[in-house]
Symmetry: C2
Subunit: 555 residues, 2 copies
């Protein structure tokens, strides 16, 4: 790359090698544009962690250069980290009406609303943000008002698809703006960053309309009450449920905090268009005949505290499942949720409901482009360089293979990693180093105060529990004046373990005598000795390795 | 049911409403026959638990009536509980050669081999076990030598399919004995108990041969080394890997403890037929050119300690993944394992391997019958009563619906639950009560010593850790002579929390002063007071609820 050529860099802080916590930095000379600020849900090993957000050390260090944050749509993996990010950096936000509506609710909850500039964009449109001219391009996704981006810089144009699919028959009639992508391709695209979530899937992703047909089929056949669980943010699917209810002359009520929240925002902002009087309160709908009732609810992922799960377990205050109910789960389990979803379905069947779910086709379609759509996007935009984004490593690899099949040379494709600085000019591209990146764990009010040691301890505690050995020593006489006492939690039933505990105490006493014999006086040595001898004894007796915590009190 | 009519009962102790820990009791008058003794792997909430086995209280109470244990095949969910069961009851075992070969290894490991009568059966054949005449009927499954059963009793014949599919082109050429099932149907079947695992799947399950074709395709294309991960017990699939290796002139080595174990047993007993000299040691195969090497390995489920996972993480002692390797994962993730499998695939790609897995069809076929096969089984055997078995509740419901479609009246179908006594005569059937049944958790050497309280503690410990508050009191003077000291584990980084810990101590001190002021002398009251006030303080500060354990030492 020429020494004096202006430098354009793309730096992912999240969303590469993972599906979630999407955050990309575009830097031209001394100006920074941020795309999205998402969260990701914790992995199984992250015990007790609520959410995970990107490490933004790099942004904090370059605070003054940030010109704006552009949001592609309102899903948690694109806006969920904003309340945390905006405590450390400040910048004007750009997004569509629904996206910013959802962001506003989130900021209010975190008491962060003041002083944040929210710029509503209505595609097709452009905004000048510092040196960057950003075009907002309508795309189809599983939430309305999603956009892709064209970011024009002096070094060339970057196209970022956001999360997208090509729905030829979208519920709101507004298709992905393929003309704009075609036009950009004609003008010349330097870099394409494209959604890789479904890069393993052959063919095309089905239209959301297909789910509408399935819903109508189910409404046609149902004799009793109908309950539909789906993702709260899938406003178009909710629209289709309302349309079916209208057609089959049923009233609708909405249950579950996040579902009520999104439905209210979507109605207020005009994204959900429903007939007068169709929406009624839960208390009122219970007065209607069963075959006049539709309940839209959260819980499509079998979440333990969600409305549908509580209904299935007969723990919901106002809704009991009764024989004759039809329950439609209009969603597929997100990987990792298969068991909880299965359990919810089992309980619904036990209550006598007819349950319609994944095993029947057409109850759910994806919001992400499959291989044929991904290829079309590449062919439309004809980029010089290609960065597959929004995917686990295997998805990026598959997407890269597609791009190669279409003639993009291997050396122009970047299978990146978070933190990597990719530098571009009109003529060349290179890896120019790394910035700090990673996972920041949020647990309650604590952001980043839980690390590997804490997690390792939680893991050990979760497997075999803890034994606490308390000994009180007289400092002067150096002798035990109380204890050893042993208290256990999460180790074994106390009733079953009396003898084991007595033997354990005896083992600790012997260890202490040995310490005295060897003239050990360092507490840390005594503690280690007690811990090891008790650990060996317990492993021999039980094949378990509880955490052992010797505590010496000195008087 | 007539008062004096002889009583035939079927009592499931496991395998109803779950896929695993299969165990069915057949009782005629005062004689008992047991079918299978399986384990199930713990649910996510069962922290630290290794395996779960059926509660056999009922069998222990009726020890003297037990005439035998019949095993349908050698999978863990059918034989895995035997080492525990045989410590509490004794009975002769009946099974095919491979099944008992696997059982023997298991008993040896638990040092239980002596005094257990092992009866090898070779279908088609029968055995008289007490009053029961049991026919062993060959069925296809994902392990060789699987059988279904016909149990002839004075009250009528029970057919139990075991786990089965109808493979028209099985690898060993021996198809499910459909003639026998047809003959039984002609003679008259009182009760059919049939495998429900795949009752949600339409059509037919594909033949194991399909996987063989996929394997050959992959071998044809591969330029470098080939690694294949699959279930150790799927001997026919392993056979097909050897056949492909022979065809494409490669040598084979086997890696991973359970894979080596099963391959050795299968070769010894004649289930795996391999050409001379094709099998070589791992150390020797590394001397060959890469395009002459096949490695068969464990780890198809992404298990953390398995050979393939360690290779993917560059932690295997003898095998490193190198660019040019082809890795075939000839399995689908068992529900719950999706994330770990995905992670293994990602790491393999990162090491430069070409990975072929689930997203490409034909890498795995199920061992269980789909709907058309299930219907055929019902039509062949034409039972009077039908009990869907081996399935979660939703699978049983779907299987029952299939049976109804074929004309079995609803009242003759039992969607049962574990512990239920189903009583049959030639003329009638009824629910005759319940016996003790349930889940016994095994943790290390402890069988059943971990219960709900221990699990609840482990859960709390895993979420937010523990704080231990130690106070030493002088009994006479009733005053604090040492402490309060606070130790935490799994709660928060110590570095980050110094101030929080100081404030916590202060809070405890205040609580103790309050106790003195109110003249509280009961330790339990003091402890509760300390716990509550510290818990409130910490929740307010951190929104976390660690376990708080106040310990009072008395001198």
């Amino acid at each position: 790359m020429g020494k004096n050529e202006p430098k354009l860099s793309i730096i992912p802080l999240g969303g590469i090698g993972e599906i979630g916590k999407n955050m990309f930095v575009i830097k031209f000379e001394e100006e920074i544009l941020i795309i999205d600020s998402g969260l990701i849900f914790p992995e199984e090993e992250m015990l007790g962690i609520d959410i995970v957000i990107p490490d933004i050390t790099y942004l904090v260090e370059n605070k003054d250069k940030i010109k704006g944050i552009v949001l592609t749509h309102g899903h948690e993996d694109h806006i969920g980290a904003l309340p945390y990010v905006l405590q450390q950096i400040s910048a004007p936000l750009y997004g569509t009406k629904l996206t910013l509506g959802l962001v506003e609710g989130k900021l209010k909850e975190h008491r962060l609303r003041r002083n944040i500039e929210l710029n509503v964009v209505t595609p097709p449109c452009s905004a000048n943000i510092g040196v960057f001219k950003v075009d907002f391009i309508r795309v189809n996704h599983s939430i309305p008002d999603a956009v892709g981006l064209a970011i024009h810089t002096p070094a060339g144009t970057i196209v970022h698809t956001g999360d997208f699919k090509l729905d030829q028959t979208p519920v709101d009639g507004r298709i992905t703006d393929i003309h704009k992508f075609a036009e950009l391709g004609k003008q010349g695209v330097l870099v394409l960053m494209s959604d890789s979530t479904n890069s393993e899937r052959e063919g095309y992703t089905m239209s959301e309309k297909v789910v509408g047909y399935t819903i109508q089929d189910i409404f046609r056949k149902a004799r009793g009450r109908i309950l539909v669980a789906t993702f709260a943010s899938n406003v178009h699917r909710i629209q289709q449920i309302f349309e079916a209810a209208e057609k089959f002359e049923r009233k609708v009520t909405v249950v579950g905090r996040s579902m009520i929240n999104v439905v209210n925002i979507a109605i207020d902002l005009g994204y959900l268009k429903i007939p007068n009087d169709i929406l009624v309160e839960l208390d009122d709908i219970n007065k209607l005949p069963l075959d006049k009732i539709v309940i839209i609810t959260t819980g499509s992922q079998g979440e333990p505290m969600s409305a549908l799960t509580r209904m299935a377990m007969s723990e919901h205050k106002k809704v009991d499942i009764v024989p004759g109910d039809t329950v439609l789960i209009a969603a597929t389990p997100i990987p990792g949720n298969e068991r909880t979803v299965g359990r919810t379905i089992d309980h619904l069947f036990k209550q006598g409901a007819e349950v319609i779910y994944e095993s029947i086709s057409g109850v759910h379609v994806s919001g992400h482009a499959s291989q044929e759509e991904l290829k079309l996007m590449i062919n439309l935009t004809r980029p010089k360089y290609f960065i597959p984004i929004h995917g686990e490593y295997r998805h990026l690899v598959h997407h890269a293979q597609l791009a190669q099949e279409l003639g993009i040379p291997e050396e122009n494709i970047f299978i990146a990693e978070n933190g990597l600085i990719m530098e571009f000019s009109k003529k060349a591209a290179r890896i120019a180093g790394k910035v700090t990146s990673g996972k920041v764990m949020v647990d309650g009010l604590g952001v980043g105060d839980v690390g590997n040691i804490v997690l390792r301890d939680r893991k050990q505690l979760s497997q075999d529990g803890i034994l606490i050995v308390v000994i009180t020593l007289d400092k002067q006489k150096a002798e035990v004046v109380a204890g050893p006492d042993i208290i256990s939690r999460g180790f074994v039933y106390v009733r079953e373990s009396e003898k084991l505990m007595e033997e354990s105490k005896e083992r600790v006493k012997q260890a202490l005598i040995k310490c005295q014999g060897k003239n050990m006086t360092e507490w840390s040595t005594i503690k280690t000795h007690v811990r090891d001898s008790l650990a060996n004894f317990l492993y021999e007796k039980t094949r378990r390795r509880p955490m052992i915590l010797p505590i010496i009190m000195e008087i």
